[in-house]
Structures are given as C-alpha cells and as structure tokens.
Symmetry: D2
Subunit: 360 residues, 4 copies
C-alpha cells in the first residue's frame, strides 16, 4: 500500500470504481496488458457478480474479474483506485481511501478545478473535500509532471482540455523579448469530438440513428470544460486569458480534433513556431509534433496514447492555426490516467502504453 | 368523415397518434408533401404544445402543427388516423374511432397477426378487440390490395415481413405442373437492418458508440416478425411453411437488405424465375424487379417507397438467392402506410410517394 | 430557345454536361421532379449510350435518358445547359452555346472569380473567355438576385463559399453609426464537409476505409475556395477582408457545417445580431435563421435546399459565433443551380425545390 | 537463415514485399510490437525511399523503416518474407527466396488452392511454380497446424474462407454413428465484410460516399473465395460439398460476420452441437466458442486475432445457424500470417498477438 512501487517489483494493485462506461472498459483494456499492474477489484452496484467480460466481450479470456458491489470490494487494499464514475463519486470516497494509504486517480471532474466556485457553478454540486482538492494535482503530465509524481490524488483532465492545453501551452508559456507570443484575450478552440466523448448513457441524442451522418455544434453558450481550460491556460500564461470554445459532435466512435486559433503578437512575428513546439515537446513520449504542413488525422492515434500536433501559419500572417488530435478515450481519458499511475508509482512513464495506433 | 375521398375532392383529414418516433416523423415528411392529405392533429401527451418542428428541425417551415395531448386532439374529426405508437395503443382506441367513422392504419403490430395466440405469445399483451382484428386487413398492398381498399382498419406490415413476403411471394404462390416451385419447409431469410429499425428509444445497444463500425445478429432464437412472416407466407402458399429467420443490425441509418434462400423443387428446375418475378410485379408501382445479375443497394431506395428485387440462381443449381432492398422507414413503414391510405380513399396509389431516392 | 419561360408555359428544356458525378446525379434527382423542366440531354463521352439509371439505380423508373457523347447531344436546342464538369469545360463551350441562345449554369469554377489572376493561380489553367466571365453573374441568389435574373451565364458558387458568404453577409453589409459591425480583418471560417464534397473520383484518401471513423483538416495552407470567398466578402463589405479558412473532412456523406468567428467592433456592441440576421433573411425562401441558442444539425437539411443559420454571442462578449449548415450537394451545388435556373426563367424560385429534408 | 528460431534466441528477421496496402500496414502494426521479430526490409518500387511512417502516420515513432525498391532490399537475408501483394507476385519470387533459405508466407492467393485448374480459372493467370504449390501448406492453423510447422511456403487463407472453414469444420469433420452430421450438399454462407476487405485501391465503388450508409451483396454469381472454401471443406469432410456463398459489403472499416446455415442430418438430431464446438476448439488460443444464445459482435474482435463463434439451433429444429466474427485484417489476414510465422519458427503461437480487442 506504500507510495512508489519500482518497476520490476511487486505489481501495483489496482481498483476501479465504476467500470461500466467507456473510460472503464478502456482502463480494463489497457491495464489487462500492463506489465506492472494487477487488476484486483472493479465495482458496480448494479452489476454485482457479473463478469466484466460478459458486458464487454472484447475482454473474454483477457480479464477474469467480476463486478462487485462497492461494499464487498476491498478497495482499501489497493495501491491505487481509479474512479471512472460520474462527477461527485470520487470526492465522497477520497477521505477514507487516503486514510488507508490508497492513492486516487479521478477520471471525472472532482479534482480538476482548483476554483471551488467555478466547480460548484458548473457541476451543480457542493465540493465536499476542499482540502483534498487543494493538495490534489492536475493530471496533465506534460505540464505538471513533478506535482503528479508525489500526489496522493490526481484529477485526470477532461478530453477537450487535454488537446487545447497541450495545443496552446507553448504559445502561452513563451515570451519574445519579454512579451507574450500571442494575444491571449482572443483565443479560439474549435473542437470536434467522436461520440464516445458523450459517454455510455441511454440518451436519444447520441443514438446511432441521431448522430450518424450528421454534424453539429453544442454547448456554444457554455460547457464545463471551458473553466477547466481557462484555469490552466491562465496558470501557464501567468495572466488572464480569453477563450472562445465551441465543441462539436462528429460521427465517429473515437477521436478528437481541435483546431486552435491564436493571433500572433507584433513582437513575436519573427518567432519560429514550428521550432518552438518541437523543442517544447522534444522529450515527451506521447506528444508528436508533426512536420510543417501536416494535417493530422484522428485515426493516426486511434486506440493509442499519442497526441499529435501540427502548427500552421497561413500566408505567414498573424493568425496561427494549431491542429491537435488524440483518442479521446486514451490520451483524453484512460490512457492518460494510466500515464499518471505510472508516474505516481515510479514506473516507466510509457509502461503498458506502447500500443501502435489502429489504422485503418 | 365519410369513406372514400376522390382525388381532386376535399383533402383527406389525417391524424397521427404518437409522432415522436421515426415512423412518426417520416409520416410527417411524406404527408407534408402529399397533394391530397391535410395534417390536422398529432398527439403526444409528453410534448403537448410543442411544435413538431421544434423536435424535428427538418420540418421547420414545412409543418406548422404542434403536438397536442390526446384528449385535446379532435381525432374523431379526422378521416383517418395513423398510429405510430408502441404495440397495444391502437387497439385501445380503435372501437371509439371506428364508431366516429374514422379509419385506422396501425404501424404497430396490433392488426398484423390474425392468429391471436401468436399475437399474445409474442407481444405479451392480451388482444382487446379480436372482432376488429378479424375484420382488419393486412396492409401489404401487393398481396392484399382489394381487401385494403375497403378496410376500416389496416395493420401495416413490419419492416422485415415486407421484404421477405414480397421477396418470396412469387415462389410460394407459383406452381409448376401443380407442384410447388420450392421446398417451402427450408426457407431462409438472412436480413440486415439499419439502426432506425430499432426505433427512437433511449437504449444503450443502439447508441452510436455501440452500433457504429459494428455488425451483429440478434433475435436468432426468436423474433416477433417471424410469426407474422410465416402466417402470411402460409396464406400465399396454401400450406405449412418452415422459415429460418436471422435478423442482423448493420451500421447504417436507413435501409434493409434481405437475402432469401429457397431450394428449387425438382419439378420446377425448368422455370424461368426472372420472368416469374417480372410478371408477378409488372404492374406494381413500388416493386422494381432488377435485371438478371443485379445486386441492389439499399441506398438506391433511400427515402423512397420503392422496393427492389434481384433473383439469382448460382451455377444454375437448385438454390435460389433472392435479394430485396427497401428503406425500412418508407416501404417498410410510413411510406407503405401512406400507400394504404391512398388505396383506402380512392386516391392514386402513388400520390405523395413519387420521391426519387436520395443517392448518394 | 428564348430567355424567360413563364411558369405554366412550355417547360424549360434542360441539358446537362457531365452527369456522372455527384452534382450530376443530384441535378437529375431534382430535375426529374421539377414541374417546369424537361430533361432533354445528358452527356458523357465515356458512357455514351448507357441509361443514366444503369449508373445511378435511384433513377430507375424516374429518368429514362441515356448518356450521349457530346457531339451527338443537341445541346444547342436546350434552353439552359448545366455544366457538372471539372473546371475548364464550361468555358470551352460557352461561346458556342451562347451564340445558339442557350443559357449556361456552371457548377464548376469557371465563372466564380471575377479576378482573372486569382482564377489562373488557383485553377492553373488560363481563362479562355474573359469577356463572358465579365458579363457572367455569381450565382449566390441571396446576394445577387437581380443580376442572376437576366444573366446568360451563371457561375454557381462553391459549397464552402455558400455557407461562409451567407453566414457573414449580414455582418459585412451592416454598419453601426457608419462603422463596420465587425473587424473584417480577422474573420475565421472553420468548415466541416461531408465526403461527397470531394467528388466522385477514384482516389485513395476518400475511400471508405480511409475516411470513415476519421476526422482531419486539409488545405490549411491554401484552398481554391478561399479567393472566391474573399472576393465576394470584399464586395459585400466594400473594402478589404482578412479571412482564415480551415476546411475539414468529416465522416458523413452529405452535409456541411461552417463555424464562423467574427470580432464585434466597439461601435457595434449594442447591435441585436439575432434581429439583424432575421431581418436580412426574412424573405428568403431557402435561408432559415433559427431561434437564439440553436445549434443546427446537418441532417436537418439533408437532401433539401434549405440553409440554416444560428447566431451566438457567448457571454455577451465581443466574439460572435455563427453556425451555418447546408447539404453540400443541394444548396451547396445542384439545388442552388436549380434555384438559379428558376430565377433565370421567371419560374417560382422554389419550383422543384420544396423537398422536406430527410431526417433521420 | 535457418529454419526454427527458438523463442528467446535471435529474433526472426522479417521482410515484407508490398507494404502499401491494408494487410501491409497491419503486418507492420503487429510486427512492430512482436517480441521475437525484427523488421528488416519492406519493399515498394513506387515508394522507394519513403519512410513507411510518412504513408501510415500511426507508425510514427514505432517503425523507422523506409520502403525500398525490390532490387535494393536484401530479402535473401531474411528468415521469412511476407507477401502483402496482388496475386501472382509471390509465385514469381518464391523459387529464388527458397533457394536462399528464406521461408515464405503469401497473403495473396498463389498458394491457397491446390487445384491448379481452379486457380487459373479464378485468378486468370497461369501458375508458374506448381511444384512449390504442391509442397506448400494452407495456413489455416486450426485445421492444418502440423503441416504449417515445417512448411517452407504457407498460403495464408482468404478472409471469408477463414470464417467459413472454422465455422463449419466441426460439422464436416464430425460423424454420428458413422454418418455425417449435416447435409453437406446444401450449405449456405451468408457473409458480411467491412470495406477494408476490398483493399486499398482507388476504385469508385469503395469510396466513402458510395459505401457509407449503404448495404449490398456482390459476387453472388461467383467469387474467388468460393473454390478455396469448397476445396478445404471437402478435405475436412472427406467428400463432395455443395456451398452457396453470398458475400455482402457492410459499412464498417474492419470486421467480418459470417452467418452459416447447415441442415442437420437425421442421424445427428441428438448431437449436442454446443459441446461439439467447445471440444473442437478447447485448446485453440484464437478461437472463442461463446456461450449458448450468444450473438457475437464484430467489434468484440476489432484489431485482435481472436475469432468468435456462436452456435444456434432455432426451436431445436433441423437448421443449424452458426455465427462467426473476426477482424478481417487480423485473423482474416495479417494476424493469421503472424500466427503462421510463430508456428514456423517455433515461437509461442500467440507471440505478438495478445492484443485486447478495441471496444468501443
């Protein structure tokens, strides 16, 4: 139950709370192949006793575990527990698990926003453990690696924020002659998500017959990921940020494509933005800055933890266009969560995450 | 409110019960363009007061009607009422509407099976008006035209039965030297349906994220359309019929493809099956027997009331393979219902049904 | 062969050059149902003699015409000829047809750009009839209705330009206190197209196995529709315009969704943009300004000539977000071409274009 | 270059001829992760010098190899060469490679059919090395394991044959009281394939805009996989077999679903078919016989080498219905090829093939 299990040593004992959604089954797919993790418990009150492979046939012969009711699962004997649950579940159990020495990775929003008021406004529930929130680390490895290493609680980022933050980080962190590289007050994120981003819920608008051969925006007047993105952009930038965020639903199962627009500041017209991105991510195992002129495809990262970025400056003008793709269920959710686990337990950061993307 | 409105005379006043599903919105699309029909009421208790175009944006500017609660809608002042409802609704209201002189077209199963026991076994509700069932007509125009013309109540066929019955009718009706053309005891219908066939219900298994890029069979051990198909095949054949029926779900919105297998009887080896089909359907406005060697595509009938058939006899052997395609929401449901209405009111059979299929 | 055929009079005799692509088959679908048009010839050298319904099975029983080699088709006896051809074909035949009194609607780019240099740069062919280009009318009815009425030659707009121009027209035409409503130098059009927008060509990148379950940008560094959009935006605006245009390919057959971003000018902060759009398009039969808060879906216009617009101003700030959807093959191509024909021949503008969109 | 490289010893040196199609990129995906294989050469005359990751972006950072022209690649220094090429290529190079001690796995048809006449009829090329064909092994491991182990040349099965043969093998091999279990003269295989089955070729009929939201049969009058299936069914059965085979194209990228129909022989009515299948495949690592009543989904095997089977006997009658799913690019092609390589080189049969299927 201790912190820090070295690679090669005993396996990390893993529990999953709420394994019947897409981030749950994706955690199972990744952890079933992880060389240093041992799945020990998965909870679902409703499905108590059902083998997970009965619900998700891809796991037949790969995962022997059955769902168990929360009170039966011995989560306190795990090294780490992933919450693949609706918002609000992790914070209700965090205190008790931490007391038992268990570390927590929440794939919902309970530990994403340091700003309590914003959390309560957007998620419409009171936050029940602000002290734990205070100590928790935001689980976007590429901008917060050291804090995550030692964190007892990690808030795994939302799918949209992962793409927008990694796509804009080099621009907001950077300075040219002491001045910002871009106008941080007029940023735009035009994002397109596959339908799994909406979860595995019985709702009409995400039926095949509604979402197939169809494209639409949604949440233009407000989306929960907006405050999350802005909070962390402002941290990177060291000042206020203005962002217009328009998410869209695109008829594919997995995948997210974010098209980001930033106006280059006059002082930064001479910057080599391609080089800026390449240097920023040179040592990142899961961020691929593509060659100039590239237009990354979502399928190039399907079922893998890689996120790809391409930087464009049309006509060498003042408008930067940054293209970012990821698999929303992997780098945008469960893969990133495993990456966090690896860091937290001193494992190689890419352990269990070496899959080649499935193309076609 | 009388029976029989001649073309050119006053429009047929149409009511729809339950317009929030796919057969409902498809009825609205077709009737909004129908030259001899006037939409007068559409009911939905839940959506009382909401303009139908607020739910289905394709109707904006085309249909001004709002949903109204059943008790407010003056269905008794309609000439005909379509039931685009779950099974059991039409039979609950049939007596009263008939008494008011209103004719009924039920798109659910209440009036499809003459065999009461089979109905109650498969739909798990008692039939509350067997006398009306007795007088009702099965609404498959191409095999029951005359009865429909004068019927007060029509049971609109299921989508699978429409393809299987029209695909096998020439074989089961026909005789060669007084003998059947095929072995009626070993018929097989391997059917593939688009996902709208499962309706507009909030259920996990028909989510985009479940049904897209996926293919599966279902209902192999029993499906409600099986007794409906067999009952009418036996009527056509004049004797018992054995049918193996395997429905599949295919990742497309609309469309149904049935691949039908029948063993040619020894006496019928000399029959020209292509000619048999062409003659059988020569005068049918909505059945297209394609040239020899054709493989009809579902998109060739998308959004149209046409059903296409191709007849194959591989290697000139004893196995016939009949391919049938339709749009499950048009010829397999709402278009066929309008075709029935046209017949019942003495209108041209193709009134309002002349749309060219949308390809691509 | 004269100009101006009144409704009710003799039908307009229509020829189509190049009917084997998607705009061709869509023209056939629409014209087969048009009350005032008569299809008289369709050319394809390669398919000479083949019934069009053999290539496009949706036309079986609806269109009897066969393709004929160009030299056999008597296009000079048509009232109007549509060119559904690659760029450069219409201009090669325009002189001769005009001399015979035939009017021309080109669905390719030959008559879209008045700027000859831009045309030759982007299409890499010399323009062979600049005088005809000079007299031709740009066929975007809602901004050029009067010129089209009397034009002998109409350049039918590109699909992207149709959405971007109609989506931005009210902003660029308008003034507040004599000042522009938006910063015309920082416009952004983030556009998503269904795959039919790429045409019916045997190319790897638009195979089902490449484009399905995938999303990507393309043409970020330059796209032929960019100069077309800018030329006409500048005309509307009466001054220079700066536009960043990023097209994307989305895995659907038909449909286009453009998300447009414009910064509100300080003088225009008090403008009611919803009202502005509603008034601008109040009398347009094919432009639907949706209620505040709407997010239009592409399927709501599938197979119809309607274009829908929604105007958003998140947090009542300075960034306008305009959402526009159309069917790229109808309002974005063949439907708009028929709308132009209707205008040119004095027919009701919506003749043959009253189809309700196919949803689902 | 020797035969038989034990696990743990030096890696198997692998060459690939023709890596620009879907079976090629899938081989690369699998071999890049294979613990005992080393990719040493991949040929493409047309793409000589291009890194494979420039063509298939999923391989960025995973495969460093570049395509090389055939004459430059030192294929004679490989232990095994995979041919992911059109039919006819492998047989042209087989003699020379075998002479150099290189073993061959052909993913095309050159070594699938022992019947030379059938090969030449269906593939329309003469077979240039009948002696090698004679010694080659048909690479369907589950029915031919021992022969494959020692083969110098393996003909990797077609995708359809893999499902039909494994789906019917227990029925054709079995006997009840010395009699066949089913009527081998009236077998039916109704098969549905994802579009990658048609390859990566620039052809109109497999464009997204043609194949999406569409379903059709093809090849009803004859398909190249028919003689391959029949040849091997007859070997299993020890006698003549009659098979009706109808392939269909379904709008998904990967996946194949075969629905197989067999009439139970009177002597076999008492057989427990579920047990028959379970016993037949009890020790097969890649064949999963599902519980009674199952309907396997193609996505449950997406990107994995597992093939799943479910056996149905509706109403306990005489018609068996066997459902089989596989990923056509893995068990139906490249995964099976790697499985063959593992066997041929004494590696664990599942080395490099342990991927959990990607669901959703």
């Amino acid at each position: 139950m201790g912190n820090g299990t070295a690679a090669g040593a005993a396996k990390v004992r893993v529990g999953i709370v709420g394994g019947t959604g897409y981030t749950g089954v994706e955690l199972l797919r990744l952890l079933a192949q992880h060389p240093h993790a041992e799945l020990t418990a998965i909870t679902s009150r409703k499905e108590d006793g059902m083998p997970v492979a009965d619900m998700f046939a891809n796991l037949r012969g790969k995962v022997d575990l059955a769902f168990s009711a929360p009170e039966k699962a011995r989560l306190d004997q795990c090294d780490v527990v992933f919450f693949a649950t609706p918002h609000g579940v992790a914070m209700a159990q965090a205190q008790e698990l931490l007391a038992a020495g268990v570390r927590i990775i929440d794939l919902a929003a309970d530990f994403r926003l340091k700003n309590l008021a914003a959390f309560e406004k957007w998620y419409r529930i009171p936050h029940t453990c602000p002290a734990i929130l205070e100590e928790s680390a935001y689980g976007l490895v590429e901008i917060n690696r050291e804090a995550i290493r030692n964190a007892r609680v990690v808030g795994n980022p939302g799918c949209y924020p992962t793409t927008v933050l990694l796509g804009l980080a080099p621009l907001l962190e950077g300075r040219a002659g002491g001045q910002p590289l871009v106008d941080a007050s007029t940023l735009i994120a035009d994002c397109k998500s596959g339908v799994t981003g909406a979860g595995r819920k019985p709702e009409i608008h995400i039926l095949f017959s509604e979402a197939s051969d169809n494209f639409k925006a949604y949440g233009v007047m407000g989306h929960r990921h907006h405050p999350e993105i802005v909070e962390h952009l402002e941290r990177l930038h060291g000042g206020p940020v203005g962002l217009t965020f328009v998410p869209h639903l695109t008829p594919m199962v997995r995948g997210m494509h974010s098209t980001l627009y930033a106006r280059i500041a006059p002082e930064a017209r001479g910057v080599d933005f391609q080089a800026l991105y390449e240097q920023r991510y040179a040592n990142e195992p899961f961020v691929d800055v593509m060659p100039p002129g590239s237009t990354p495809e979502t399928r190039s990262v399907r079922a893998s933890n890689v996120l790809r970025i391409a930087v464009h400056r049309p006509d060498n003008g003042d408008q930067l266009v940054v293209l970012v793709v990821q698999d929303n269920l992997v780098k945008g959710a469960s893969g990133q969560a495993v990456q966090n686990m690896n860091l937290m337990f001193g494992l190689p950061e890419d352990a269990g995450l070496g899959q080649v993307a499935v193309l076609p």
